[in-house]
Amino acid sequence: MAHMRNKAESAGRATKVKTKHKELGLTREKLLDMYEKMLLPRMISERMWRMLRQGKLLFVVSSEGHEATGVGTAYALNMGSDYIVHYYRDLSVVLAAGMTVKDVMLQVFGKADDPSGGGRELPGLFCSSKLRLVSTSSPIAVQLPHAAGIALASKIKGEKIVTITYFGDGATSKGDFHEALNFAGIHKLPVIFVCENNKYAISVPQSKQMAIENVADRAPGYGFPGVVVDGNDVLEVYRAAKEAVERARNGLGPTLIEAKTYRYAPHTSNDDGVRYRTQEEIEEWKKKDPIEKFKQYLKEHGILSEALEKEIRAKLEQQIDEAVDFADKAPLPKPEDALTHVYAEPRR
C-alpha cells in the first residue's frame, strides 16, 4: 500500500506526544540543534527579502515554511558521507548539511569566493564536493536521475552510502521523475525521494498537476513504499526519513516520502504570489508554522525557554550580520573569470 502510515495511526501517535523525541532517539542537544537549523534559514530568508527591497540583492528564492521538511530529513543522514541532491527550495537542507552562513551569502551575492560556483548559478543553488552536496540546477526534476545514478554507483562500489534527493510537487509531472523512480525501483537503489508538496508549482495548483490526492500513491507503481507525512512536523518527518534511510542502507531499496507543506513567500522575487492563493489559505497554513510547532513541543518538554530562544536568535542574528557584512565587502568575480572551468584545466 501507498501509505505506511495513515491518518488514524498518526492520530494514535499524537497521544504518545510526550515521549516522541525519546522514542526517536533524539537528545536535548540534538533537538536544540535541529531547532536552530530551522530558525537559521528562516532568519536568512527574511534577511534576503529585506536586502532585496534595499536593492542589495537582485533575486531571492526562499524556503519559509519548508524548514521542518528540510531539517527532519537531513538529520536522518550521515553528514559528509551520504549524498544530498537538493533543489532551490532547500536552504534548510543546505545549512543542515554544513554550509556556513558566509558561504550562503557569498553565493546569493554572486561573489568571486562563492564556494558553490563563483557566482555562476542563481541565488539558491548551492554545492560542495566536501559536504557531498551535489551540484544542481534550475530545470525541474533533472536531479532525480542523478540521485539514482549516484546511488547506483554507491551500490556498485559496495559502499553503505545513501543518497537523498528533494523536489517539489511540480517535479512529479515530469518524465525524469518517472524514469528515475522506475530505475531506482528495479535496482533497489539506496536512494530516498523527498517530495516537498506545497500544493503549487508556482501558480498551478495540485488539482491541475495530477488527478490524485497523494504523490506517494505512485510509489507502488515503482515497487517501493510511499509515505505521506506532515511536512510541518519536524519529528514526524525525521521518523519517516530515518525509516527510509535504514531501508536504503540495508539494501531494501528506495522510499518516496511526500511531505505536505506550504511555502509562505511568493515563488521567487519575480512572483507577487497573490493571484493564485487566497490570503485565508496562507493564514491557515501560518497557523501550522513548522517552527512554531516545534518550539511549542520543545517548550512543553522543558527543552526550550523564552530566554534560550532569545539567546539563540541573537546568536544567529549576529552570524547573519557578520556573514552579510563579509559577503557584501567581498570582491565580485573578474569579468574574464567567465572563461574558466569550461573543461578541466590542462595539467601543468
Binding site: 554572486g110 548559478e121 542563481l122 534550475s138 511540480g170 509531472s173 508556482i202 498537476q209
Partner: protein, 327 residues
Amino acid sequence: MAVKTVIEALREGLWEEMKRDERVIVLGEDIGIQGGVFRLTDGFVQEFGEERVIDTPLAESLIVGAAIGAAMNGLKPVAEIQFADFIYPAVDQIINEAAKIRYRSTSNYSCPIVVRAPYGGGIHGGLYHSQSLEALFSHIAGLKVVAPSTPYDAKGLIKAAVRDVDPVIFLEHKKTYRLIKGEVPEGDYVVPLGKADVKRQGKNITVVAYGLMLHYSLEAAEAVSRDGIDVEVVDLRTLRPLDKETLLSSVKKTGKVIIVHEDSKFGGFGAELSATIAEEAFDYLDGPIVRVTAPDVPAMPYSPPLEDYCMPSPEKIAGAIRQLAAY
C-alpha cells in the same frame, strides 16, 4: 498610432488571433490565472475560458506533444515554454515529431503548432534563464524559426505564425519585452514569415542581427556613423526559412559583413549566415566575415561582471565595425 512595448504587441497579436479563430488555444505553465510569468497571457483565461487557456502540469514534452496531437485534430495550439532554457525536454517532440509529420506522411497530416519561448540574457537570469536556442531549431528542416525585435514586427509575426500551416518556433527576447517600445497599429496586420527587413540603410558594412542584438547593432551603427562609417543593419526576423535575397544583396552592396548574436559562437546561428555568404557571395567580399557573439562557455553566468562579459554590447559591436572598416 499607439506606442507599445514588445510584450504588449505580442499580447495584442495573440489576443486578436484567439478572437479571430476559435481553433486557437494556448497551453503552458502558469499561463492561466497567473497570466504567464511575464504576464503575456494576462486576462486570457478570463476572456477565453479554461478550455482554450490551459495551465499544464510541469512537463515540457507533454506541452508540445499534446499541442501536436491537438493540431493533428484540427486545432491551432500555441504552446508556451516558460523559458527557452527549459525546452530541451521537448526537443524530441519538436524535432522528431512536429518537424517530420508532414514529411513522413506526405501531407496526410500536418502540424500547425506555434511554440513560443522567451529567450536571451542580460536580465540577471543566470545559466538557466538566459539561453539562446536558435541554432538548435533553425538547423531543422520542417520547422520555421522566428525572432522578432520590434513591437511592430512582433505583433505582425505572431499573427503570421498562428496562421501558418507548419510548425513555428517563436523566440521572444525577454529583455526586449519591456525595454523596446515602438508604434503598433490597432487591429489586424501580418508581417510575413521568411522576410528580413533592412532596419538601417548604409553602404560600408552590413551588420546582420535579430532580437535584442538588432537594437544593440543599431546603437553601434549610430556610434560609428560619427566616425564616418555608414552601416547597413539587416534584421532577419525569420531565421528559417532565411531571406537569403535580402541578406546577400546587402552583403553584395557593402562587401563587408558582421554577424551579431548573443548565443555562443562555435556552431551558433551566425555560422550558417557566414557559410551562406562565403558560398554564395564570395566574389563580393572585401574582408573576413566577422562574428560578434558570446564567448564559448556553457551558458551565461549570474554574477553581473560575468554576465556583462558574456553579453555582446553596442560597444563591442562598434569595436568590431571599426576594425572591419579599417581592413
